[in-house]
C-alpha cells in the first residue's frame, strides 16, 4: 500500500501512469476485487453524489428536521441565474453543489461520505463544476474520485479524518486537499502539481476547528463545505500556474495531525466550543435538545 504522497508521485512518474491507475490497482490488490467490481462501486458513489446535488434544488430545496439548515442551494441557483456573481459562475456552481450536498446530508438524505459525511459537499462541489469547465466524461469523473481517494487514504492512515480527533481541518481540510489534487490531474497537471495543490489546500485550512452548534452537522458545517470547495479550486489553480510549496504534502499531513492532537476537546466535535459556544449557539442547543427531551 502507498503510505506517503511522495511514493504516489514517484511511482506515477516512474511508470508514467496517472494516479487513478495506482488507486485502482491498489484497491484490486488489497481488497482482492476485480476491475469491474471496483469500477462499478465508484460509479455508484458518483451516482449518489449526482442524486444528492439534484435533490438539493428540487422545489424549495431540502430542509433538516431542526430547520437550522436548508434551502440555500436553491437561493444560490437563483442568484447565479442573474448572471452576475462576484466570484464567478464556475466558483458559485461549485459552492452551490457543495452546500446542496450538505443540506441533503443534514436532512438525513443519502450522500456519499468524502471522506466524511460532514465534509461530503466539498468533493462534489469541485467535481461537478470542473466537469463543466473541463468537459469531463463520466469515465474521467470516476478517475477523479479514484485519484482523490488515494490521497485521502494517505491522510486517513497517517493522520486522521474524524472531527472528533482532528477538528474540521481533518474533515473539510482533508476533503479540500483530496479534491484539489484530483482536480489538478483532471486538468492535465503533473503528479507533483497534484501534490502541491494538496499541500496548499490542507495548509490553508490548518487549525480549522470542529464546533457544531448543538452537536449537529449543520451550523457551521454546511457552509464550511463551500469554503472547502472554493479553497480546492484556488489551490488547484495555483498549482497549475506553477506555484509551489516549501512545505511538502506529507509534511502538511503530519502538521495537520499534530495540530489536531493539540486541539482541546471542546474544539473536536463535542459541540462545546467555537460557534457552538456563542450565545446564539447555546440558545439553539437548548431549544433543539429541549424539543427532543
Amino acid at each position: 500500500m502507498y503510505m506517503s504522497i511522495k511514493e504516489i508521485v514517484d511511482t506515477a512518474n516512474e511508470r508514467q501512469v496517472p494516479i487513478y491507475t495506482l488507486a485502482i490497482e491498489q484497491e484490486m490488490e488489497v481488497m482482492r476485487s476485480t476491475f469491474d467490481e471496483t469500477w462499478s462501486k465508484m460509479e455508484k458513489n458518483l451516482k449518489t453524489m449526482e442524486n444528492a446535488v439534484n435533490k438539493s434544488t428540487e422545489g424549495d430545496g431540502v430542509f433538516s428536521l431542526t430547520g437550522l439548515t436548508g434551502g440555500e442551494a436553491v437561493k444560490i441557483k437563483k442568484y447565479r441565474a442573474n448572471g452576475k456573481t462576484l466570484s464567478g459562475d464556475i466558483m458559485m456552481n461549485g459552492v452551490q453543489n457543495a452546500i446542496g450536498t450538505n443540506e441533503v446530508n443534514a436532512a438525513m438524505g443519502v450522500i456519499c461520505a468524502t471522506p466524511t459525511a460532514g465534509a461530503s459537499g466539498t468533493t462534489p462541489g469541485v467535481l461537478f463544476t470542473i466537469k463543466e469547465t473541463l468537459q469531463l466524461s463520466r469515465e474521467e469523473q470516476i478517475h477523479f474520485l479514484f485519484t482523490s481517494s488515494l490521497f485521502g487514504m494517505i491522510v486517513a492512515n497517517n493522520a486522521c479524518i474524524a472531527g472528533a480527533l482532528g477538528g474540521c481541518q481533518a474533515e473539510v481540510g482533508s476533503a479540500s486537499a483530496m479534491a484539489a489534487a484530483a482536480a489538478v490531474e483532471a486538468a492535465g497537471g503533473t503528479p507533483e502539481q497534484s501534490a502541491h495543490a494538496f499541500s496548499t489546500a490542507l495548509q490553508n485550512l490548518l487549525g480549522l476547528v470542529c464546533d457544531p452548534v448543538a452537536g449537529l452537522v449543520e451550523v457551521p458545517c454546511v457552509k464550511r463545505n463551500a469554503v472547502g470547495t472554493a479553497n480546492a479550486l484556488v489551490a488547484a489553480d495555483l498549482a497549475l500556474a506553477g506555484v509551489e510549496n516549501l512545505i511538502n504534502a506529507d509534511e502538511a499531513v503530519e502538521a495537520m495531525y499534530k495540530v489536531g492532537r493539540q486541539m482541546p476537546r471542546e474544539l473536536r466535535e463535542t459541540g462545546l466550543g467555537g460557534v457552538a459556544d456563542t450565545p446564539t449557539g447555546i440558545a439553539i442547543r437548548n431549544k433543539v435538545l429541549g424539543k427532543e427531551e
Binding site: M108, T116, A117, G118, M153, A162, A164, P212, G215
Partner: protein
C-alpha cells in the same frame, strides 16, 4: 482462560479506497451515523438474531452529540441488520419497538474505556444468552471493535476489521481453520485462542477481506461451530 497464540503485525486502518470515498449512507455524520450503524451490525452478527433487550452506553463525543446525529437510529438499524443507505434507518427505533425490543440509551460521563471520543458499548440479550461489544468510530464510517463478550468468552482486540471468530466444543476446529486460510491464501495479522470449560474460541485479525470462496467454506463450519465474520 489462557492465551495460546499471539502474533502482531502493523495494522493499516483504511485499506480500501471506498473507506475514504464512501460509504454511501444516510446522513448526517459518517462517524456518528454510518460508524454507529456499523457498530450495530457487529452486534447483529455476534448475536445472529433479534434481541429482546438492547442497552447502549455512549461516551465522550457520542454521549454529547448522539441525539443530533441520529446515532440512536443508526445503532438500532445495525442491530436490525439494515445497511447504511437503507431508507428504513429513519424508522429503525419504531420498527424495533414494534418487534417488542426493549431499548435503553445511556450517556456516560467521563473518559471512554476504549480511549477514543467516539465510543459506544452495546449489550444485547434474550432469554437464553447475551453479547456485549464496545466499538470506536475512527472516522469516515470506519470502526474498530475493541471489546467482545460472547458465549462466556471475553476478547480485547486491536479492533481493525475484518475479524473472524469461531467457537466450538472441539479443538479440532483450529486445524480446519488454518487449512482453509492456507488454501485461500488468507493473511492473518494476529490471532488468539481461548479455552474455557471445554469450549474453544479462535479469533483472527485478517489482513484483507475474504474472497467469496473462502467465506463460503468458513461458513460451512457453522454446522458444528459458531462462526462469525465481522
Amino acid at each position: 482462560m489462557s492465551v495460546v497464540t499471539m502474533r502482531e503485525k502493523k495494522n493499516v486502518s483504511y485499506k480500501s479506497c471506498f473507506d475514504v470515498i464512501g460509504p454511501v449512507m444516510i446522513g448526517p455524520s459518517s462517524s456518528h451515523t454510518a460508524g454507529a450503524l456499523a457498530m450495530g451490525l457487529i452486534a447483529n452478527k455476534l448475536f445472529k438474531k433479534l434481541p429482546k433487550k438492547v442497552v447502549v452506553k455512549y461516551y465522550e463525543s457520542f454521549a454529547e452529540t448522539h441525539k443530533g446525529h441520529g446515532t440512536d437510529l443508526a445503532i438500532i438499524s445495525g442491530i436490525l441488520g439494515f445497511e447504511a443507505d437503507d431508507s428504513r434507518v429513519l424508522e429503525a427505533i419504531k420498527i424495533a419497538e414494534s418487534k417488542g425490543i426493549d431499548i435503553t440509551f445511556l450517556e456516560k460521563s467521563g473518559d471512554s474505556p476504549a480511549g477514543h471520543p467516539n465510543t459506544a458499548d452495546i449489550y444485547l440479550e434474550d432469554d437464553s444468552r447475551y453479547i456485549r461489544t464496545m466499538g470506536i468510530s475512527v472516522g469516515g464510517g470506519l470502526i474498530k471493535v475493541k471489546h467482545i463478550e460472547i458465549d462466556g468468552f471475553t476478547l480485547q482486540l486491536e479492533g481493525s476489521l475484518p475479524i473472524m471468530i469461531a467457537i466450538s466444543g472441539s479443538d479440532n476446529l483450529e486445524l480446519e481453520l488454518h487449512r482453509i486460510f492456507k488454501k485461500h491464501d488468507v493473511d492473518i495479522n494476529n490471532s488468539t485462542s481461548l479455552e474455557k470449560d471445554g469450549k474453544y474460541l479462535y479469533q483472527f485479525d485478517l489482513d484483507s477481506q475474504l474472497s467469496s470462496d473462502a467465506r463460503k467454506e468458513l461458513e460451512k463450519l457453522s454446522e458444528t461451530a459458531n462462526v462469525i465474520i465481522l
